[in-house]
Symmetry: none
Subunit: 213 residues, 4 copies
Amino acid sequence: MVKEAEEKPQRRASKELRRRQLILATIKSIAKYGLSDTKLSHVSKAAGLSQGIINFHFKSKEDLLIETLKYIRDDYEETWLKALAACPDEPAAMLAVLACVDFDASAFDRNKLAVWFAFWGEASARPIYRRICKERDEGYSQMIIDLMTRLAEEGSYEAVNPVAVSTGFQALTEGLWLAIHLSPKSVGREDTKLIALEYLALYFPQHAHNFKE
Amino acid sequence: MVKEAEEKPQRRASKELRRRQLILATIKSIAKYGLSDTKLSHVSKAAGLSQGIINFHFKSKEDLLIETLKYIRDDYEETWLKALAACPDEPAAMLAVLACVDFDASAFDRNKLAVWFAFWGEASARPIYRRICKERDEGYSQMIIDLMTRLAEEGSYEAVNPVAVSTGFQALTEGLWLAIHLSPKSVGREDTKLIALEYLALYFPQHAHNFKE
Amino acid sequence: MVKEAEEKPQRRASKELRRRQLILATIKSIAKYGLSDTKLSHVSKAAGLSQGIINFHFKSKEDLLIETLKYIRDDYEETWLKALAACPDEPAAMLAVLACVDFDASAFDRNKLAVWFAFWGEASARPIYRRICKERDEGYSQMIIDLMTRLAEEGSYEAVNPVAVSTGFQALTEGLWLAIHLSPKSVGREDTKLIALEYLALYFPQHAHNFKE
Amino acid sequence: MVKEAEEKPQRRASKELRRRQLILATIKSIAKYGLSDTKLSHVSKAAGLSQGIINFHFKSKEDLLIETLKYIRDDYEETWLKALAACPDEPAAMLAVLACVDFDASAFDRNKLAVWFAFWGEASARPIYRRICKERDEGYSQMIIDLMTRLAEEGSYEAVNPVAVSTGFQALTEGLWLAIHLSPKSVGREDTKLIALEYLALYFPQHAHNFKE
DNA sequence: AATGAATGAGCTTTCATTCAT
DNA sequence: TATGAATGAAAGCTCATTCAT
């Protein structure tokens, strides 16, 4: 029987599944209760499992939190990599996709946003969080710089400093996230998307048509 | 010696003074330990006072945290109001001042920055924090909109939507804060200041000279 | 050895068993330290368990106290119901049994007596205690009234007002408890029993023979 | 001036007044909050004075409580001594007065009643309270025994054992107090007074006319 | 692999007491 | 005498972690 042969891998898979399940429950709990009020009992309850389960799958609560942060770090990267993969290999189009994906219904998740802010909030006190947060930014940042560099060569954008503009672009995006985070009802994702696109259009006016919705 | 005065605070200080002293100690503690790891013992120790003192001057730990948040909200407003008061009453100059003040050595305080992120991190879970954070933004935001509206009338900036540009500007500033917050060593306040100023220059090119350092 | 079983309680006991165990420890503690000096540490130590156990099985200390009061309320009722069940169904005999059971070695428990006084002492300040104390009295009182009514019909006790006599009888009993409570060494349970029986004999002289020991 | 001569005594008197004031506030607080929830802040507030005042006039909180108990002990004795003084020197009349005074509007004070129960509640744990409570009973008890002995000699009450009847009488009175304490709304002082008087009438039928209202 | 009762360190909070004013 | 800010020991309670089942 095939089943027998798969038994062991299945068990491993199931273990991995449990961890995933608990990480997703942690994301929900952080969004709902905040990082400082997230208890393991919230998490296990949200996962529909028993109290002690977490210390069985994670070394400690701290470990669970770090794994949760790593999860959303990887998840974020995956999201924009996928978006880029589904788009023509032209820097302007790709930048436009990146500007959009952060605010698109398909990828945007209020809970994950809350988790980012939660860990950013503790970053000054916990180097490990800071490191993982920065890892997220660095990959993304490098991609933006590359794209802007390619774009700057395509057009005549000699004045544009890709590093600075990329820093600004990323800052703008994350600042707009804050606006949504604080005022989900009054700040819409459509508006913020337009603001991010316009930023690109201002710096790369010859490709402005790429940065219209 | 000045030190003596600090080590042995007057045994009987005014209530308002003590509260201030404790709030300042709370800011330090949040920056150092994070919001979720700030203990009252940290705060009272940082203030050089006894354990019980906090519940004597504040209803509870939660109350202390809220008062701390209100304190930095008011402190922030005071800072930019003062900066504006010391500057000629011209919208472009005033916007430039606002762009600079957030990154100027005179006003910038890494601890307070950490406190902002700490509370933003809990904002999704605690409406009271969210409300106070938004109050900070609203006054500032309104001032930016007013200035941009005046500037738009001065020059021929018909295409500029002051509300959207102001949202972007504030987002950019706060996003740049995040970059500093996460990478204090690699992201300099001079660089971020230039990025913020350039944002203004892009939208208001006829006043670009105002937005050079 | 039996001792071992007591010293090392089963690590996993049923919830109901633990609650009972903690309530009994609470009774001991109240008798020993008084209500105002009963600490959770006394209780958990008396139960041979750890500090945190109480908040695991009871919402709060207050909840534990209320459950303790309910326990002795129910325990008291059970005691006299059992005593009545073991006695012929004749009102005079039954009244005699009720007069005796409160002072009989078999049912009398100095600790529980102390607990009653402890809660009576707080009754004016805490409606919830008052309510539970009254519940105890009401069931008992009704039984006394019924028996006296039956007895009054049997003999020619037209002058006897069962409600008033029952109130007096219950008051006498509880007052005698106070005498024992305050002077356990000089006031004996045999003496008080005789006083209570004589009260009945005075009101129901035709059945006086029932009210001799 | 006379004033100078009196200055010192006045000061002492004023000190005594303060203590009295604080003891009265303690009685109110115990009735309102219970003994276990009576805080010095309640007492000083009820007295309209400042926090630290109590440790100035009493060695400690415990000392204040003991003095409060002594106060109501003396106050109680004073009450029935005065009532006896205003009554003809005949044992039956005097017993009737004693039966009444405990329930008479003139002397009855719900707060003091609550204080008695509060201290009785702690009596099993605190010998000092027990001692003072017993002191109250003893003087009163002796007076009752004396009166009953005199009465027994007057009439032909050979069968009456003054000690036992006196114990019963006092128990009845205190038990009726409990009924009032627990159910101030449903148990009236008129009813309890009649029950106490009837007890005397039953034991001393030849003087029954003395024990009618 | 999973449960959930039990633990106990560590937190916030209370409050009698002290003491500079 | 009197005040009330300050202290700090001690309490109740929380909750990550453990472990018998």
